[in-house]
Amino acid sequence: MTTVTDGPATRRARGWAAPPRPVWEEAPTRAGLAGKGVVLALACLAVVLPLWIVIVTSLSTRKAIDEAGGLVMVPGDLTLIAYQELLSGGQVTRAALVSIGVTLAGTLFSMTVSVFCAYGLSRTDSLGHRWILMTLLATMFFSAGLIPTYLLVQTLGLTDSYLALILPSAISVFNILVLRGFFMNISQELVDSARIDGAGEFRILWQIVMPLSRAVIAVITLFYAVGYWSAWFNASLYLNDQDMLPLQNVMIQLVQKQEAPVGLGQAIKTGELSGLAVQMAVMVMALLPVAVLSPFVQKHFKKGMLTGAVKG
C-alpha cells in the first residue's frame, strides 16, 4: 500500500504573504488573480453564508426574527434564550447527551478494535496474515443487504439498545487499512530493537508504534467520531423509544418536520422564545463539535486517504 506523502517542498512560506516566485514563472495577471479570487471567495461563501445565517438566527431575539421576517442575516438583538431553554433538561438536552455518549463510547471501541487489528496485520509474514486480510478486504466488495442485517440485529436482541448504534457499524475496513499502512512504514529496526529489549507486542504497539502514528490516529479518530455523531439511520431502525433518540433524529423531528420541542410548545406560542431560533439552535448544536474539531486535524487529512493498492 502506498499512502499519500508530501511532495517536494516547493514554496515553503508562512503567513499571508506570497512566497517568492521562481524566475521562470510569468508574473500573475491582474485579471487572472481577480478571477481566481472571486471564484474561491464564492465557493467559500457558499459554505459559510448558510452557516452564518443559521448561527445568527439561533442567537436572535424573537423580535429581531419577526422584524427580519424569518431568518436573520445581519445580527441585531442577540440572546441565548434558545440555548438556555434547550439545554435546561428535556428532549434536546437528553438527545445531545445520548449523541455525546454514543460518540465517545463508539469511537473508543472502534479505535481500540481498529488499532489492534491494524497492528496485528502489519507484518506481511505473520501467521494467517493473508487470510485475515482477505476476509476483511472482501467486505469492501459486497454488502449483505439492509433486510438481512436488520433481521440479524433483531435476532441478536440489540433492538432498543445503544449497542445497535455501535456494533453493526463499529469498524471500517478502509480505516483499518489506512492505519495498517502507516504501521507498516514504521522502521522495523526500531520495533526489532524493542523486541530484543524484551518488549511484548502490546508494549511495542503502545510505546513505539502509536506515538509515531499520532497524526493518522487523530485523523481516523475524527472519522469514526464524525460517523457516530452524524448517524441517524440505525437509530431510526432499531430504537423505538422516543426518549432514546440521538440528536440527529431529534433534529429531523424539530427542524425538518417542524415539530415543537417537547415541553416548549407553550413558550414558543406565547413567550420570548422563537420557534425558528430553537430550530437553528438545534442545528448549531449538531454542527458545532465537528466545525470546531476538524480544523485541528486538517493538515493531516490526506493521511486518512488510501491511494493505491493494499500490500498483501
Binding site: 448558510p50 496485520l121 467486505t139 439492509l146 433481521l151 440527529q248
Partner: protein, 348 residues
Amino acid sequence: MSHSTVPRSETEATKPAGKPAASPDTAGPPDDAPQRAGRGTLSLRLRYRRDRVLLLMTLPAVALVLVFNYLPILGNVVAFQDYDPYISDNGVVSMLNSPMVGLENFRRIVEDSAFWNALKNTLVLFFLQLVLFFPIPILLALLINSVVRPRVRAVAQAVLYLPHFFSWVLVVAVFQQMFGGAGIFSQLLRENGHDGLGVMTNPDTFMFLLTAQSVWKDAGWGIIVFLAALASVSPDLYEAAAMDGAGRWRRMWHVTLPALRPVIALLLVLRVGDALTVGFEQILLQRDAVGPGASEVLDTFVWWNGVRNQDFGYAAAAGLIKGVVSLGLVLAANKVAHLMGEQGVYKK
C-alpha cells in the same frame, strides 16, 4: 516474553514485491506471502507461538466482520420466502417457520413498475452526479493549487472541507433554510413581491437538488486526493516546460493534467463500481416532500418495502438483486482499473 523469543529474520524489514518462489517445505497454510529467508524453516507451531499475540489482536475486528458482514449473507434466504415477521421477535425463528416460495418474490419484482422506476432513478442520479459532481473537485483542486499564499490556501481548505463532516440531516436542513418555501431566498423574493421558491418540493428537479446537496457537502472534500497528486509533481517539470517555452496553459495541459490522470481514472472506475448505491440517506430524509415516483432509488425501495411495509421477502429479493449486480460492477471496475495499469482497491 517467551512468545517473542523466536527470532525474526533480518530481511522482513525490506518488503519484496516479487512473486514468492515455490517452497516445497512450507509447513504453514498455503498463503503466498512474500518469500523471505527463514520462512520455510519455521514450523507452523513456531510461527503460531511467534504470532499468536498478533492473531489475538485481530480477533475482535475479525469477529465483528464475521458477525455483521458475513453472517447476514445467510439472511438472504428470506428473499426466497414469504417471510412473516409476526411469527416471532427472533428473526431466525421467523425465518425457519416461513414458507419457501421459490422465485415468487423475484417474479413480482420484474412485474413491479415501482422497481423499474427505482432503477431508472438510481441510474439517472448516478449519471447526474458523474457529469455535474465529478469535475468540480478537480477544478477546485487546480484552483487551490494555484493559490500560492499559504494562509489563504489553508483557510480556503478548512472552509471547503467543513461540510463533509456534516450529517445528511444537517445538510438537508441547511438547504431547507436556504431554498425551502420559508427559506432565506423565498423570504427575499417575497419581500420584493415575487413568489417563494419551490425547489425543495418540486419532483421534476429533485435529482438536481440531490446533486447540488452532494456537491455542497462533498465537492470540497474531494479535492484532497487531487491536491496530493498535484503536490507530488516535481517542480523541475514545470521549470523545464517553461524553459522550453510552454506558457501557463500549456504547462497545465502537458504537466499538471497528466499527473492527475491516474487519480481521475481510478476514482472514475471506483465510482462506476458503486453506481447502484446513490443518495440513500439523503433521499430517505426528503422522500415525503416529493413522493416516491421522483425520489425512489433501489436502496430506498428496499427500505420502504421491508422496514415500512413489512414485506421482508420482497424487499430482500430486491436487495439481493441490487447486491449481486453491485458485486459484479465492483469486480468489473477493479478489473478495468488493473487493465489500465492502475492498482484498484486490491491487487494480488
